[in-house]
Each structure stands twice: as C-alpha cells, then as structure tokens.
C-alpha cells in the first residue's frame, strides 16, 4: 500500500515489491505468457509470483505507484494509453516468451461474404498503423466522443479511406450490421473508425463494447457480424483456438502491437526480465 | 363418561367420541387416555396435551348451546373442531348428519360459508382492512357483489352499535369495539350455525345485554343454532338452552340451566355455579308452591273452612272447574259465611289477587313480592292457577335450595 517506500535502485528489486508482478484478468493471454516467463526465466523458483487483477486495477495500481515513484512491475501492452500517459518501458525478453510483436486481426462471421459482400470487402481492406490509431486514441483520451473522433479521422484521411472502400458500391435499404469490440481504447478507436466508414457505405451499424469472450462468441454465433480487435498470436490465442472454425479470419488490420512486462522508466537498473532476478 | 345422545329430526350437530391431543407422541397419549390416565399425567409422561377427551354431545336446531369450564379445559378446541379448524385426533362431527371429517375440500368450504360462522376468542381481525371491510369479509369470501355485501355489513355494524366507525382501522378501536367487529363479521354472514368463542368477553354490561338479546332474537326469529363459549354463568343461564360444562378435556355435565343449577353433577359443578345470580334464571314456576284451593263450582264454605284448618292457613285460593283462578277466601269471611248459613262461596270471594305468569323471572318479581304481603298467584296463559309464591320460597331459591324443575 501507500506506506511502501520509494524505489531504491541500490537494493534488489524483489524484496521491494514483495516479488510480485501486477497482472490483469486471470485468463488473458498475457497472463499465460507471464506465467510461462516466470518459469522460463527461473523467477518462480525465487518466489516471484503473478498477481491477477484486472486491467483497471492494474492501471490504477500503476498510476499510484508512479505518482509515489515506487517500484512496480506490470503486464503491459501497446497500443494502450498507459504507454502514452505514463513513462513506461518494456523489459527485454531475450528468451522470446512474449513473441516479437502482436498483430491485430479482423474477424468476421461465417456467411458475411454472401450476405453483405460490400461490408465484407471494407472489413477485408481495413488496415492501418500504430501511429494512425494513436491519433484517434489520443483524441478520445482527451475527452472527445469516440464517434466524433472517428469521423474526424475519416475526414482527414480521405485517401486512405478511399482505399478501404475501393470497389465497394453504396448499399441501399440501410442493412443492419453489428460490430462488437473489447473496451480497450485501441479497439474503441478502430471499431469506431470502421463503423464510420461502413456507415458511409450505407450500413446501419451498431457497435457494442464487451468483454473479449462475448466479442468472439458473438461473431462465432452470428449474433454480431464482425470484430476488428483480435490480438494474435498471443493475447487472444485461446479464443482463437476455440472459435477459429466458426469464424472467418480476414487477416491483419494493424501490425506492431506489443506485449510484455513493463516498468516505469525511473527504474533504471531494470531493463530486462533477467534483471528481476538480481 | 357417558352422556345421552338424543337423535331425532331436529339434531343439527352431533359429536361422537371427539378427541384432540396436541403435541408429538399422540399415539402414546391416546393409549394412556384409554387406560384412564389423567391429562396432567399424560402431559408429564409424553409432553402431549390432551385438548378434548372423547366428547359426545348433540346440539339441536335452533338452540343456544353454551359451553363452560375452567380455562384450558378444551372449550375452544371443541368449538374449533366443529368447523374443522382443528383436525380431530379421533371422533366424528356430524352436521345435519354429514360427517365433516370425511368431506372433500369443496364441501367443507361450502359448509363453512353457508352453515357456519365463527367469532374468534382473539378477534382475528384483518389489520389492513377497515371495520366495514372486516365486517364484510365473510360475504366477500362467498363472492357477494361489493355494494350488496357492504350494505349487509353496514347493517351488522349497526346491530353491534358500531355505526360511525366503518372507516376506521381495527387498531384505532378499543378492545370491546374490536370484539364487536368480529361479531358483526359473523352476523353479516347469516349462517345457520354461529360458533362463538367468548364472543362477549370484552363487552360492557349494557352492550353485553344488548348482544345477548340480539342472539335470543336471532335464535327465535331465524332459528339459528348457536354454540357459545362463555365464562359468565349468568349469561350462560340467561341465554343457554343447554349448558355443557367441561373439565380437563372431559364433559362433566350437560343440561338445561335449571338442571345444572338444581342438580349439579358433582362438587366441581357445584363450586362452579356457586356465585350465580339465581334471580335471573329462576322463574315464578320454579319457586311456586302448591296452593290450597277450593272449587267455586262445587265446594262450599264448610269445605273451605275445614281445608284451612287442616293446613293451618288463613286464606284459600278459589278456582273453577277448569282450574281457572277466581279469587281468594279469607278465614274470617268463610267463618261469617258459615255463620250466615250460606252454601255458596261466590259472595265472599275477593277477586283482587296479585298474579304473575309462570315464566316471569324471579328478578322481576322481587320488587312486587317484597312490598305485597299477600302471596302472588302463578297462572298460565289460560288463567289457570298453578301455584303461589311466598317470600320464603323465593329467598330459598335464591339461596340455592332446591326448586321445581320442568314445570
């Protein structure tokens, strides 16, 4: 708690944080990876443990620790506002437990291609970069309504959007389309942008934020038509394995996502997972 | 104990071997009862309480049947078994010849709606209903239409003297008023049989007398059968056609008020009736003594004189051949008539004799008897002389001495 002392670079880290890595949702892919990392790097034998909590609890703990300049090790990923808001760095992962990078895939329901070929095409074409997504995320983080931020983005990047909608004709009769997404800020951004584009094409798009499992389940059971928030190969590995036969994977819509262990930048002596053992 | 069961066309309720045992080890308790163990013994041995022990009795149509007894003697239990509010452990209750224990749900419900109305010892009013709605409850259950049932309930409230309180809630009423609401609820129902458990216990004397009169009217005009539990001996004696006295779950005596008063079955009953006000129960017929008479159509002064001498009395009543009272003879007048050689009594009969009817309660006679020194003549509806009332006999009756029964 708050009575803990500030980070002391001269002492071993373990005792300072009670050998605890602050994690997120127990079932998340990053947690599985971290469990593995504890073993691979021999941390488990040295009493290191992974504390499951939730994204919100983790970021809250992180915020508090940083405010007090206390030491902390968290499970981190990007794109996420924690990396824009806090001075964080990923720890090096020489044994490559977390994989080099993550990619975000677009997943649609089976039969979408037949039922809504225009939408299918837009979704299939949708592809952007971490830099682009960050601009939307930042706007939202600064208090702008996600839908408006997406509209702004679409307006400003007309060329790119034209690429996504190349060969797509306007549909009539306002066919309904449902997108589901995980309420992470990156996904809020991407889903809103895609929704805006699809609306321009003539669809009546509903977007629904929810937990990862229902996001996948909804596309698999055709309760929803698509999602653009599938982090692979690590984060959503289990869900992908469960549902891959019931959905259509349209491939990557963004490259360069990353997951791993992260610490505040002021923890100068800690740069690699190996350093935790010191 | 065996009691006579009168079975005739007029029987309304017949109870045979009715038994109720409360508690757990009922079979054991029943066994012990059969072996003649007492209620306290059984309570001690089994923890089961004997409520009622093999009761037999019969209630006739149109009578008021009063149940009395020590508190805890099983009166309420008996009453509640009559409409099967309490399931009997053993025995039968026949209403109009039908065994209610054997009835299906629908039939017993019909009987409860149409034949049986009940006044509860603890009132049992619904707290969230107004007085009027409480009074209309029984009718509502019967499915009667709102206006009709409320007007009926209103009449019943009038009857019990609660007009003006129709819109209050039970907790705004005094104890006696609450009891009268319960009474109104039962009366509104217009059932053939009224089961009343200490229905007047919280009433003041005036309301109580009014209610008693009401019951008597109901019985007379509408031929209702009323089973009434009371702790007030005077009340029981005043309104009861028969009185049943219970003790420890058993019936000790059943009889008319006069029978109970004049022939108590045992010491218990005797003690029970000790404080009773007999003047309210006894009638002229109960205390009259035989009058010495002469027949004006046949007898002359000489016979009258001899009869006076024989009985050491100074006056003699005169009747005609139909035993109709004619008047009274004075010893002096008779002597004078003999001296004058008259053969006839007609001239010497004094006709200003104070009279009273057979069924006049003693209470109503006291005043007159105390101020008039001549004995009252007791006559029936056809003016026939049945006896005379002397002060000593009145006082004797009030003191509990034996009186004439079934006259």
């Amino acid at each position: 708690s708050s009575t803990q002392p500030k980070y002391n670079a001269n002492k071993p880290l373990g005792p300072q944080i009670n050998y605890t890595i602050t994690g997120i949702d127990a079932g998340a892919g990053i947690m599985t990876s971290t469990d593995k990392a504890l073993k691979v790097y021999g941390l488990a034998d040295k009493n290191w443990q992974l504390q499951p909590s939730s994204t919100a609890a983790m970021t809250s703990t992180l915020k508090k620790a940083i405010a007090d300049k206390r030491p902390i090790v968290v499970t981190g990923w990007t794109p996420h506002w924690m990396f824009t808001k806090f001075p964080l760095k990923f720890l090096k992962d020489p044994k490559n437990v977390y994989g080099k990078t993550e990619q975000i895939h677009t997943i649609v329901r089976k039969g979408l291609k037949q039922d809504d070929p225009q939408a299918y095409q837009v979704l299939d074409h949708f592809h952007w970069t971490p830099k682009e997504i960050s601009s939307v995320m930042l706007a939202v983080n600064n208090g702008q309504d996600p839908a408006n931020a997406a509209k702004d983005f679409v307006k400003k990047h007309a060329k790119q959007v034209a690429e996504w909608t190349k060969g797509v004709s306007h549909v009539s009769g306002h066919p309904k389309l449902t997108l589901t997404y995980i309420a992470w800020d990156s996904e809020i951004a991407s889903t809103n942008v895609v929704a805006t584009v699809l609306r321009q094409v003539g669809y009546k798009v509903t977007i629904r934020a929810m937990e990862p499992q229902p996001v996948w389940a909804s596309v698999a059971t055709k309760a929803a038509d698509a999602q653009v928030s599938a982090w692979l190969p690590k984060t959503a590995a289990k869900l992908y394995a469960d549902y891959k036969n019931q959905v259509v994977d349209l491939g990557v819509n963004m490259d360069g996502a990353r997951v791993g262990l992260a610490v505040p930048k002021y923890m100068k002596n800690i740069n690699s997972i190996e350093d935790l053992k010191k | 104990m065996q009691h006579k069961i009168e079975s005739d066309a007029e029987t309304k309720i017949e109870v045979r071997g009715l038994t109720k045992i409360f508690g757990k080890r009922i079979n054991r308790a029943k066994e012990m009862l059969k072996n003649g163990k007492t209620k306290p013994e059984i309570l001690k041995a089994t923890g089961a309480t004997v409520g009622v022990d093999r009761a037999d009795f019969t209630i006739k149509t149109g009578e008021i049947f009063v149940i009395m007894g020590l508190s805890g003697s099983g009166k309420s239990t008996t009453l509640r078994m009559l409409n099967r509010l309490i399931e009997p452990t053993a025995g039968q209750v026949l209403i109009d010849g039908d065994d209610i224990a054997k009835m299906d749900k629908q039939s017993i419900r019909d009987i409860r709606r149409k034949k049986l109305s009940m006044v509860f010892q603890g009132f049992a009013l619904l707290p969230n209903r107004t007085v009027l709605q409480n009074a209309a409850f029984g009718l509502e259950i019967q499915g009667m239409e709102k206006n009709l049932r409320e007007s009926k309930a209103d009449k019943a409230l009038d009857l019990v003297g609660l007009n003006g309180f129709a819109d209050q809630y039970p907790d705004q009423l005094s104890g006696g008023m609450q009891q009268r609401v319960g009474l109104a609820r039962a009366l509104a129902n217009d059932a053939e049989i009224l089961l009343m458990d200490e229905a007047f216990s919280a009433l003041d004397p005036l309301n109580r007398r009014d209610m008693q009169d009401e019951l008597l009217d109901l019985q007379e005009d509408m031929h209702k059968t009323i089973v009434f539990i009371s702790h007030d001996l005077n009340e029981a004696l005043r309104i009861g056609d028969h009185i049943m006295i219970m003790k420890d779950g058993e019936i000790v005596q059943i009889g008319t008020p006069e029978e109970i008063l004049s022939q108590p079955a045992d010491d218990y009953v005797e003690k029970f009736i000790e404080g009773v006000d007999r003047s309210q129960v006894y009638t002229a017929a109960n205390v009259m003594i035989r009058a010495n008479t002469v027949n004006i159509d046949k007898d002359g002064p000489r016979l009258a004189a001899r009869r006076m001498r024989d009985n050491e009395i100074s006056s003699l009543y005169v009747v005609n051949t139909q035993r109709k009272l004619v008047g009274i003879l004075d010893a002096d007048d008779v002597r004078a008539a003999i001296d004058a050689g008259k053969k006839d009594l007609k001239d010497i009969v004094k006709t200003d004799v104070p009279t009273t009817k057979m069924d006049t309660p003693l209470a109503d006679l006291l005043d007159a008897v105390s101020t008039t020194s001549v004995p009252y003549a007791v006559i029936d509806d056809r003016d026939r002389l049945h006896g005379i009332i002397i002060r000593g006999a009145v006082l004797g009756a009030l003191a509990g001495q034996e009186v004439n029964v079934n006259v």
Binding site: - | L85, F120, L126, I141, Q142, Y169
Partner: protein
C-alpha cells in the same frame, strides 16, 4: 477412507457441462421465442421512453410520486427527483438512463411475475421450498460471468441477455421475501379466512398477501436494486445504458467519469426505491 477418496480422479464435470451446453443448442427455437418475447418488452419500454419528451418524463415521475405519497412528506423527494433527473440530463446521460431504466424495469417485472408465485408456492409446500431455496442460492451465487458467455449462443448480445442475467440474479429476494412474508402471517388470520370458507386462493389474495405486503415489497425493492447492480455486468455483453458508460470509464481508468455514470445509476435507484416503497405505505 479419505486417502482412498483422494485417489479418485477428478470428475470430468467441466466436460459434462460443455456437452450439456452443446446439447442445449438444439433448443434454439425455444430460446428464439424467449429472446423475442423479452426483446419485445424491452422495445416497448424503450419506445415509450424515447417518445416522451424529457420535461414530460420528469413531470410524470414527480406527479406519480406526489400521488403515491400524498398523505406523507413528499417535498424532499420531489426536489431530489427534479434535481437528480436534471443532473442526468445535464450530464448527457438521458438516453443511457432510459436504456438502463428499460433494462431494470423489464428485469424487475419478470422477477416479480415469476418470483412472487414461486415464493407463494414455496411458502405453501415444503417440497417446493426444499427445491426453491438451493435454486435461489444457485441463481444468486453462480457468477454471471459464467453463464453470460454461453448465453450469447442462446440470447445473442445486447439487452436480452442482460435482462436474462439480471432476472437470474435479482429474482431471489422477491422469492425469499414473499415466502418469509407469507410464513409470518399470524395463525389466527389464516384461521379466520379458513373458518369463513375461503379457498386457498382467496386466503392468499385477501389475507396473506395484504398482510405480507410490507415484506414482499421489501423483496421487490431488493430485486430492483440488484437488477440495477447488474447493469455494468450486463453491459459486458452489450446491453446499452449507464452500465456501458461505467464500463468505458473504468476501462480508461477514469475514476471520476465512472463515478459520475455510477451516480446516475444511484439517482435512478433512489427514485425507483422511493416509488416502490411508497407503493407499500398506502394501506
């Protein structure tokens, strides 16, 4: 003996359950009907709320309150309602509020319609009670998260599975309190009903329910509160409303924003609470 027991392999319960869920999918027709049924209630409520102008909505709520509390103190509550609803409007949560209201009213309605008869039944029969009690424990403590995911297969996403989850979680207090209330009816009142020839139904309607009213209303009130407490979880499978706002804010680690959306829920809760409680007090 215990050592022996330890050698028994772990029961493949999880597997059985997965198979059971798979087996259930063949009844998708039935679930479709149910989904449509609940969906139409939701739509009806929402349509009405969307139709009524905001000012009229506020006026109606206040008028209802005044009517229900006319013999009691009501000024404080009226002021609270006015300010509370205006605040929700000002914060831009109006539509979210009506969506949440729709969710809660639908769930409460279903909880009452199912729960009260069930409670009555349980009060009357020991067997039913012996079955209903553990069932209620099950409904209240089996985490919603567990059945929400499979529920997507049966009820899709959005309001309907939110309503289903809320009903499951919120119904038990109504059932339990109904049973308790009826159990507490004094014996002599029941006897009075029986003695006058009441059918079980009449006894229930005319004696037991009126007497148990306070306790039952407490149960309904609890059910409503629990339904409201479910809105965030409901939002996790796509039920819209204030829950979504909270969910978003929490995801952004925006304590203030979450609290404000939560406050809107609380205002709604207090208004609903007060209205149901004043339903109770008129005798």
């Amino acid at each position: 003996m215990f050592n022996l027991f330890m050698n028994i392999p772990t029961l493949p319960l999880a597997h059985w359950i997965d198979s059971f869920v798979a087996w259930l999918t063949q009844f998708s027709g039935f679930f479709g009907v149910l989904t449509n049924f609940i969906g139409s209630i939701v739509n009806a409520f929402q349509a009405v709320f969307d139709l009524i102008p905001i000012w009229l909505f506020i006026v109606l709520i206040m008028a209802l309150t005044w009517y229900l509390k006319r013999d009691q103190k009501y000024r404080g509550l009226l002021i609270f309602e006015l300010l509370g609803l205006l605040l929700i409007w000002n914060l831009g949560f109006w539509r979210d509020m009506t969506q949440t209201l729709t969710l809660v009213l639908t769930a409460s309605l279903l909880a009452i319609v199912i729960g009260i008869p069930l409670g009555i039944w349980a009060a009357e029969s020991k067997t039913v009670s012996a079955i209903v009690k553990p069932l209620m424990d099950f409904m209240q403590t089996m985490p919603a998260f567990v059945y929400l995911i499979p529920a997507v297969a049966f009820f899709g996403i959005g309001m309907v599975p939110g309503v289903v989850a809320s009903v499951i979680f919120a119904m038990p207090p109504t059932v339990r309190m109904t049973q308790l209330g009826i159990d507490q009816v004094p014996a002599d009142l029941n006897e009075a009903a029986i003695a006058f020839g009441a059918t079980s139904w009449q006894q229930l309607i005319k004696v037991q329910l009126p007497f148990a009213r306070g306790t039952i209303m407490a149960g309904i009130n609890q059910s409503m509160m629990l339904a409201l407490s479910m809105v965030v979880i409901a939002s996790m499978i796509g039920a819209m409303g204030l829950g979504t706002k909270v969910y978003f804010a929490v995801g952004r680690n925006d304590a203030g924003g979450g609290f404000v959306a939560g406050l809107a829920i609380v205002i709604l809760a207090i208004i609903l609470d007060r209205i149901t409680q004043s339903l109770n007090r008129t005798r």
